[in-house]
Amino acid sequence: MKRVQFEHSSIPYLFIAPQIVIIAVFFLWPAGQAVHQSFLLEDAFGLSSQFVWFKNYTDTIGDASWLQAAWFTAVFSALVTFLSLGIALLLAVKANEVIRGARAYRTTLMWAYAIAPPVAGLMGNLMFHPLIGDLYKFLNAIGWDFNHKLDSFDAGFVVVLIAVWKQVSVNFIFFLSGLQGISKAVNEAALMDCKSPTRRFWTITFPLLAPTTFFLMVINITYAFFETFGIIDTTTGGAPGGSTNTLVYKVFQDGFRGADLGGSSAQSVVLMVIVLVLTVIQFRFIERKVHY
């Protein structure tokens, strides 16, 4: 269908100009810089640099520590997304059924939303502290030889736990409003058509929540990829032995701690491509199954 084109003035461009400027300054320009840097090899003091083509790329991606970080990121993101969505959905469904004191429940469940990831990380640090951490003591008391400073599984457990805890409240808010957006009459019609609550949930409620779930999945994967930086930085710092390095955290470590700007830039370009591919997959293949 051909749209009608009207004569238009340049005023609309003025309206979108601030956004364009922000994108240009904070995304396009740094991204360009990263791409440029990724082809350079710089000396440790930043005094000279030399064009090395794809050496930075081949060096990083072939590197075992990068592959490990990539693997950890994949597992970490999958776990965080799945668990935080699952727990939040369960809580939202239950909170939605509460009649007495509903507001108190909801407010309490939303509290964690106000906490910034680094603060959540610090709190986790205290709870898992080998000397004063209650959770540390508890886990050891129930027979788990828990030490996240030494054991990479335990360290992964800590970051996943904190990341999920922090994210559940955000997902909860969205799921709850999604549930309340489902027409009361549709729920009642389902009540008369289907006796089993479980079956009703999977055949009516869950499909009708699909748009919310899809949106949250995109948000949560982004969260797990990028925003958990603060949590990892304040709890494990990638330790032990880089086993809790996510790709983002490794970019930071190699670039700012290791002063390997070229390698770090190459990693961030690769990361950008990965996110791009993931986004395309999400919108092309999963969104199709979503009914709005």
Binding site: A185, E188, M192, T203, P207
Partner: protein, 358 residues
């Protein structure tokens, strides 16, 4: 093929609001019952209690002599058509109609057959694979009905199913619902606030006011013989004319108006004289006089409105009189008309209690 019995059912909401104050009713097999009343009178609550969507505070509901108070909505064998259709937006028309059957473990071949049969009956067989959002309001309404029909329930419940349709479609669907119900012979309960729908659909009509049944009976019986002032004013369009009067010396008196020929009425009591608009005719020797202020031309007939001259000003509609005439009668605005009515058709109510006296 079922009877429904309500045994002094009551509904009190947790906040203390009383919606239904003890209703008794017996609905016979294949009867079409309409609950009619103003909004907030408890008619929808009663329907929802029968459906199982509201708990029953007190009393019992029986379907075929079986108490269903504590049976889940899905097991009551009733089907409901909702006001805003309540179709499952993520399912096709076929999916919507089949859903209730699937959950009851009916074999697929049988479901398909039932869905096709119902779709043919409702003339929606071409839309079976569409999503509800691709359908018009009338089509959605049909799908909602189809969803109820395929279940072959003991009782159909309709909760103001036509109020979201435009006027023309509403009349069309009204006729169709009536035909369908006749053909299938399923006991039906229909809630509406539209008195035309109520009059035309019902085998028996229950006028509900403030959680109680004011009167129940055949629609025409309620129109001709309303038991209370409320029923008289609720049933009939245009509304019955109500004139505040007092009875003295065998005369009905309202301001300067005096009507003789009445007897056996209490004196010193506020009374209301009710006259249906269609029993009033213009006549030089008429008992009443109005000053015309509005003429509505409906086509075949005209509705003429005017202020009653000489009446005691009262709170009832400023004693505005409305009557029906043929197309040709077109009095000028502000002209004065004498009106006659047959006093045998007049109704007299006690204003305080609403009780009918004559």
């Amino acid at each position: 093929m079922s009877t429904v019995k309500l045994n002094s059912i009551k509904k009190t909401y947790p906040n203390g609001a009383i919606a239904v104050r003890g209703v008794d009713m017996v609905i016979e097999n294949s009867e079409f019952i309409v609950f009619v009343g103003p909004s907030g009178c408890g008619k929808s609550t009663m329907l929802r209690m029968i459906a199982g969507l509201e708990t029953i505070t007190d009393g019992e509901i029986e379907i075929d002599s079986k108490v269903i108070n504590n049976i889940s909505p899905a097991d009551r064998d009733v089907a409901m058509v909702f006001q805003n259709y309540a179709l499952y937006p993520h399912m096709t028309v076929r999916g919507n109609m089949a859903y209730g059957l699937k959950n009851r473990g009916i074999p697929k071949a049988e479901i398909d057959k039932k869905v096709i049969d119902a779709a043919k009956m409702l003339r929606i067989e071409d839309y079976l694979d569409r999503q509800p959002n691709q359908l018009s309001g009338g089509q959605r309404q049909r799908v909602a009905m189809g969803r109820a029909i395929v279940r072959e329930p003991k009782v159909f419940l309709f909760d103001e199913p036509l109020s979201n349709l435009d006027a023309k479609l509403r009349v069309q669907m009204r006729i169709e619902i009536k035909r369908l119900q006749r053909r299938m012979g399923v006991t039906s309960i229909y809630v509406t606030h539209d008195q035309t729908e109520a009059m035309t659909l019902a085998d028996r009509l229950a006028v509900i006011n403030d959680g109680r049944i004011e009167q129940m009976g055949a629609p025409i019986e309620l129109y001709n013989n309303p038991a209370t002032l409320f029923v008289a004013s609720f049933i009939g369009a245009p509304q019955i004319n109500l004139i505040p009067v007092q009875f003295k010396n065998n005369k009905l008196i309202s301001g300067d108006i005096e009507l003789s020929g009445f007897k056996d009425l209490p004196e010193n009591t506020e009374l209301v004289l009710g006259i249906r608009p269609d029993v009033i005719t213009p006549n030089k020797n008429g008992q009443l006089e109005i000053k015309v202020d509005l003429v509505e031309q409906h086509g075949a007939d005209n509705l003429i409105y005017g202020a009653l001259s000489g009446a005691a000003k009262a709170d009832i509609d400023d004693t505005e009189i409305c009557f029906k005439t043929a197309q040709g009668t077109l009095p000028d605005i502000d002209s004065v008309l004498k009106l006659h009515f047959d006093q045998k058709t007049a109704m007299i109510f006690n204003k305080e209690s609403g009780e009918r006296l004559i």
